[in-house]
Symmetry: C2
Subunit: 707 residues, 2 copies
Amino acid sequence: MAVPIILIVALIAGIISIVLALYFRTLVMKEDPGNERMVEVAGYIEKGAKKYIKVQYKILGIFVGAFFFVIFFLLPSPLETSERLAVFFNWEQALAYVIGSVGSMLAGYLGLYVGVKANSRAAQGCTIGTKEGFDIAFFGGSVMGLAVVGVALIGVSIIYWIFGSPLVVLGFSFGASSIALFMKCGGGIYTKTADVGADLVGKAEYDLPEDDPRNPATIADNVGDNVGDIAGMGSDLFDSYVASIVASMILAAALSLIEAPLGNVAISENLRATLVIAPVVLCGVGLIASLIGIFYIKLKGSSDPGKALNSGTYFSTIIFAGLSALFTLFLTIGQDAAGTVLLWRVWLALILGLFSGIIIGFTSDYYTRDDRKPTRNIAHAAKEGHAVVILSGFSYGLLSVVPPAIGIIVAMAVSYLLGGVFGVSMAAVGMLAIVGTIVSNDAYGPIVDNSRAIAEQGELGEDVIRTADLLDSAGNTAKAITKGFAIGAANLTVLALLFSYTEEAGITATGIDLLNVNVLIGAFIGVVVPALFSALLIRSVQRNAAKMVDEIRRQFEENPKILTGEEAADFGKTIDIATKGSLRELVVPSLISILIPLAVGIFFGVAALGAFLAGAILSGFVFAVMMSNAGGAWDNAKKWIEDGNLGGKGTEVHKASITGDTVGDPFKDTAGPSINTLLVVMSLTASIFMGLFLLLGADGLLAALAI
Amino acid sequence: MAVPIILIVALIAGIISIVLALYFRTLVMKEDPGNERMVEVAGYIEKGAKKYIKVQYKILGIFVGAFFFVIFFLLPSPLETSERLAVFFNWEQALAYVIGSVGSMLAGYLGLYVGVKANSRAAQGCTIGTKEGFDIAFFGGSVMGLAVVGVALIGVSIIYWIFGSPLVVLGFSFGASSIALFMKCGGGIYTKTADVGADLVGKAEYDLPEDDPRNPATIADNVGDNVGDIAGMGSDLFDSYVASIVASMILAAALSLIEAPLGNVAISENLRATLVIAPVVLCGVGLIASLIGIFYIKLKGSSDPGKALNSGTYFSTIIFAGLSALFTLFLTIGQDAAGTVLLWRVWLALILGLFSGIIIGFTSDYYTRDDRKPTRNIAHAAKEGHAVVILSGFSYGLLSVVPPAIGIIVAMAVSYLLGGVFGVSMAAVGMLAIVGTIVSNDAYGPIVDNSRAIAEQGELGEDVIRTADLLDSAGNTAKAITKGFAIGAANLTVLALLFSYTEEAGITATGIDLLNVNVLIGAFIGVVVPALFSALLIRSVQRNAAKMVDEIRRQFEENPKILTGEEAADFGKTIDIATKGSLRELVVPSLISILIPLAVGIFFGVAALGAFLAGAILSGFVFAVMMSNAGGAWDNAKKWIEDGNLGGKGTEVHKASITGDTVGDPFKDTAGPSINTLLVVMSLTASIFMGLFLLLGADGLLAALAI
């Protein structure tokens, strides 16, 4: 199967993206990093972040090395060349796996590095004006967005060009996702260990304000914003992005007939060659649309930062709709009538996916905005005490599952109508096409959050802090939208992966029959796993935060001069606790994400594993949305009260709202968003170990025993 | 198909059970109701409970009447007699439905009536000694247990005798379950409205102790224990009980071959006649075992009440194992070798179900006992404040899902191995066989809880209160076990209903294929429904409790003499709020439980509805276990602190633990246990409207549109 030359669009877009990322980095670096105190604080944050990354990457290096050998020696090669021992020595996927891992780590590092550098510079920019601060922060965030997308597209297109098989690209995707899981869970535990620890002692016991430099956990908290929110969210969307492309490629390569209610289309070799690269090419187009969106945001950014970010997203969306239509026209060249119609139907699915992603993002915004009913009601519930604010937020979180569920269901149903399971996978690709803009907007958030902290610590005065606050609140809105978006995209992606998995397993004809008890057991285990996974992550944060609390108390008690501001707190110790704790605590959750699907596949067979994935996808969706939105709403309810409503700071109402926020912290920043990555990793594990399962017997070892 | 005469065992057991219930009622009634103040308080409680029941039953009457006509006119008759218009005028199921509803209401009324009478008498009994108090409370509780099981068995056996079709019995089951849903949700909202309201103002703002007569919500709280815990839990287990029997009967009537990994067995007409009545007969045997267990508890009850209750459960289990083997021997008479072997395999599945039910009950006991690690850790987490106690309880709640999930999976797998899907349904029957003992133990709990309150208000002195406390703590343990047990039993029952549903729908051969997008959408909706349902119930409690809080504050403010004890609080008003609110609030959740499965069946077809049920069953299980166990653990952590640990009452630690308990209240007593009933009602709705779905097209209206 010849690879059409148009694939080069993706490669070129990827390269442009990396070049721009490096250019933006230079732009950020040449800005003024601010006064001495700011440089000092930024230096602490940078040191802390680098320390975390260093230890994290060392462990990841070992993990990646070990997995390289597992894939290499244990799994059958997906390329069935008859000249060699076909079954083992799977160097192709093993290599692609390493490239995916290293690419993910590089993109994460670059984004994090520039993010840390942009902090103090954006704060200093705020002394000149809103526009300057915004530009620096936004360029800093864009580096993450561009690096993620660029690395992904370059990796996917080159690997496919060399090996000509989507199954090798699957190795790349697995590499990207396994790193994402570590970055997301580790970062999530890190950031909340520091945040909860800082709040519980600093705010609650000693009445210190947020980001007070006397609080020993302040720097760790700032580091956490960077490692959790920049690197973590970036790698999360990176892995969904690659996975959605791979799922579509695998389906295009495997299907001989696209079965869709709107009409079946037989796939000729010619059409197949185009369909396989279509997701990559269209993502390249999406990247170009993202770049245009990024420049548009820069242009509009001066007056209202929040509106600028959103309008950039809309603008990218529109540009993408137009550009992708143009490129679909290119793709139809040389196709027969049936193929041409199919490509246009696929294009519609793509656009549908994109729009529903944005709608899902905005519903999660509704549930977490402080000028909307849910968050307001939660704030009012705080008047009746700690328990009622929890019940109110928890129930709103559960309610907020319904609108995005409808969004996903409609996107799935209509894209299926248009293009069968391939249509569904292309809707996922569409949802993620402008991820460059989305990640840029999102990474902007933690940068301005840190800028505010640095402006506070660098004593830049009330006016500057107010400017930084303005930028920060725009970041929070962007963050809420991204979270909803990330959940929706991950969910549609894993559904696409489920279809590609079953195609790979050869069970599309027999199906995944829930009336088969094996399959039902698989689904049961799948539904329980996200609950177990969330529990473990919440407990990790709780355990680690307890250590942090002890350390902060110890410092205040042993050295009272810290509280008076005469001596500096020992930031190294708290960073140490957050770093070591987060890495130790992510061992069990990551093992679960790989070992449970392996066990289900080996013992219950591939159909049960498919049901396992479906169960995990659906229940994971409920938990992810509930926890993200409840957490976001509690956070904003607290902020709204802190703005002077219902009595404002220091009242009993405020205290109750802090309880909500603290419960919400691990919900929204650790467990909730990690579930996305969990689902992708589990789906990819199922796909990549397929050869092993089929070797051991498609019905699983237990079926073999029960003969 | 002739009905074997051995069915009479079930009828006789049912009649004995009702006679004994009435006898126990007499025993309770002739006891001394205590001093004037006690009679007064008990009178208030009785009046409140009767008021609630009167309003509730009036509404239910209208509902049942309306549904009678829906079934009668809209649904095709399940008995295909060619002499008449076969499609409509389904008087058989409509009649059975009314009998099931009225039976459930009668059993609930009898249990509640005696429960209310037993309160003050058990309190008075405590003035004589532990044994006397225990006996009265236990006899009072047994009335509920015996009435439930008796009505169920008499109803099922007579209806089957007359109509000879399990599908008519399905109407009976639907009646029982729809009432159970109202009783469970309504009772759950009622009890927590009163409890949370009483705690938030009385305890938190005015520092009144629990059950203080000055608190205007005290009586409503006591009424709530009766309507929520006695009538609610009784009807919950009643509906699972009947549903498990019906599911097995339908499977036995429909299957032509039992497909099980241990060997397939073709079903002859002779064997079928036996298999259809086997679940009823074996439940009759279970009832006999329960009666023996109840007398055993009475015998052992004097020294350690908690041990006595548990040992009664064990004893019933053993008796049931022996007796059921004996009756299985009877059932094998006249069967060929294959039939005999099958019956014994089914017996094994039955026993397996029973044992796993007890194991599941005990694991939920582990997660909620104050002398075990989870609850202890939650109590210690209270040292770090309100938020940490919430996070700790929530994550333990999620963790506690794993052991019972393993229990259900093992029970399902092994019983399937033994007897295919029929084996699974018989495991559910086995799990519920000794429900007479279980409900008796459970209904004992709220009686002694009320006794303690009455002893306090009747000023019976420290010694008597200590005795009542001893009885009360035994009740709490029984309650925790019953809850786990009820969830496990409901879960296995709805799985059995899923199988009988698919058998009825005729989709056993085609299966419920998750790769079909229609089906996947069904599963998606199913997974979301328990989350939505829980959210609505929690919000109901919250809204209603807020009204209660306002009313209590108003009374204290307008009449300060209430607080000094000079004038009595206005109990009528608070009872009114709890009654009206709970009935108003249950409208939306009940509509959901019937309308959503209807909509899924009509629009997406019967396979999608099957997936909907499976999705709801699995996610419902996770939510039910999580909420019940988290709530129980928070409650016991608070009680443990109130016993003087970690500083005891009045400390900040205690306050944090109260927050946990208050959050847990609607979790464990409203939303969590209502999910069981939701699942049963949704499954039965799917089954009972099957004729309608098939009439409209098995693939649903949407499939018809998309041609």
